[in-house]
Subunit: 403 residues, 2 copies
Amino acid sequence: MSSFFQGLYGERVKDLRPSPIREMLHLVRRPGIISFAGGMPDPEAFPVELFYQAAGIIKSQGKDVLQYGTTEGYAPLKDFLIQWTAPRMGRKLEHDEMLITAGSSQVSDLLCWALIDKDDLILMEEPSFLGVFLNMHNHGAKFLTVPCDDEGMMVDLIPEKVERAQREGKKVKLCYTIANFHNPLGTTLSLERRRKLIEYAHRYGFAIMEDDPYGYVRFEGEHLPTLFSLDDRGVVIYAGSFSKILAPGTRVGWCCGHKDIIRKMAIFKQGVDVCTSLVAQAMVYEYCRLGHLDSFLPKIIDHYRKKRDAMEDAMRRHLPLEKLHWVKPQGGYFYWVKMDGIDCDRLFQVAVDKQVAFVPGKAFYPNRDGGDQEIRLCYTFASPEQTDQGMRRLGEAMREMIR
Amino acid sequence: MSSFFQGLYGERVKDLRPSPIREMLHLVRRPGIISFAGGMPDPEAFPVELFYQAAGIIKSQGKDVLQYGTTEGYAPLKDFLIQWTAPRMGRKLEHDEMLITAGSSQVSDLLCWALIDKDDLILMEEPSFLGVFLNMHNHGAKFLTVPCDDEGMMVDLIPEKVERAQREGKKVKLCYTIANFHNPLGTTLSLERRRKLIEYAHRYGFAIMEDDPYGYVRFEGEHLPTLFSLDDRGVVIYAGSFSKILAPGTRVGWCCGHKDIIRKMAIFKQGVDVCTSLVAQAMVYEYCRLGHLDSFLPKIIDHYRKKRDAMEDAMRRHLPLEKLHWVKPQGGYFYWVKMDGIDCDRLFQVAVDKQVAFVPGKAFYPNRDGGDQEIRLCYTFASPEQTDQGMRRLGEAMREMIR
């Protein structure tokens, strides 16, 4: 039976694209499969006992935290974040420069609500995080993509691209970037490129969304200054998240930016979901207040450093190195592997038959025109034993395809 | 300093309307003020201890519930809801007919994502719930309003209105209705009108969103069949919420409908917020599994019946009855008071000076063309003593204006 709704759908349904990763979640939970697909934290690295302790705030503050909250966010959590983020932000933020959101996904949704009209352009690293660009696509945005090398976005290409677009009468409203431990590339934007990106934003009048879910998960080397801290004109909206430094099941994130854009985003949020789950915000706050964020984060980082190393070892042990190129990431969740002469879709089929999964690279191309011979591997989820076993299977799959 | 963003805002910002109720939250939390404004539950009616007990699921299932969840919702919670809602839905739903959402606000947001193009029409009760229509307005919808009497929406007016709109080439996509204990009216749509509304939806090809946050909070009389259960063609999307039967701070709601529209809404949700807070969903589930929803709900209903009665008494005691008309609600949260010759905005100023707040009626008119002499009073939040004191102040304010 054809559904009653077929005749009612709006324009946005016509080119609606499901997230390949979200769709894959069902597949990769199949028993026996080893998954390097979803960017999921290791459940073994969740501070279960400490977070349960933080749930005590329900008992002590239940009358407040079971109530509706203000759309802008739970004030004690904002107070904490203002202190905690000050070193990265370059200063202590004001309350009206910060909004608590339903994960950092909601930051780009609200930003699009405020900025994007149909066919407006967004500068995107290519490849980029698909969860965000699928939502931007739903908002009617088009993508002006910037290629990346081992240092991240090749920002020197921006002026020519923006100038051409502006000559054609198009509006470049926003640049979306994951400057630290990029998803899916694993790369980190150099300081020089950060400064240039800010300069171009000022020159051409576009805003920057600095999405930084992985920034605190650095295994070695020094933190680079955030784009937010390098900017003196309020063009950067910084998005943070508890998903990778605590647990994604909370769905609590935040963003910082000029009070004018934060205010607009908050008004759109009033209609979208009223406020972020106050119970979840309160538990996250209590976890932070008790000192667990600072005490447990080094354990998470250490845990994932070992996993990154285990994957590097397993890749070197099992994969056909002569056909592959990758850069060892200094933090974050992902390896991005470029393959010479191996089609990622066909590899995916062979690999899944062998009970190992990854995300085909083409899923990360906003304009769907690349990534045929690239794959993303997440090293945080599988155990070291699974990683070794999974890489063995993946190596077999690759060799079958080379033959 | 004018913000950098002024030049970047999209069309949707130009007529962006903040929610008067959300904006008022700051005001009504001022010490000393008695608020009948926000539709807030009584914190005294939160099952704090029982919900804290339910937080035990973090300890026992932390590795699962701190992780990302599927966008469609936490499967055990859906299993529970499928059983629990069956009497109201008329049957047990399938999993793919249900989506867990960030409160029922998100239901209308996702539905608009799927259905609404700019200038599409939505049939709305007038007055109606502003949180929903402000979001619909942001989506570009226009409103075809239907007046209400003491039995709710005057559905007999629908054919003429829809036929005229269709003759003008406009698309009527959706009818939004709160059939039980309407916000702000407090009215309940009669069975006869429910049947007619379904008939018109079939005849004219529009969908119905049946928003039912208050349906389970009935003080007396018999439940009427849901629109969902009266419909045999899958045109109704039913929205439920834990906000009024447990606690709004969870931000957990759900919707039921044809699997085709539910699937589309889920894909939009992938981009909007990935999934509803899994920790919050899990605690709500555990609360239900332990039997607390069924055991505690009668206490909530009893509590609010007494508060409704306290407000009825206080209104009769303190207000200038000769100038007022209202209907005693059989459930829900609200009184809607029509005043003869008293301007609600001016009354609001005088009342706030006297430390009592309500929501001026005009806030609830989707097309901003009515409600000048109407106000909404919420009876659930204030204590009986506050209600008496607040009504005394409100009565004084009204009498000052009549003089």
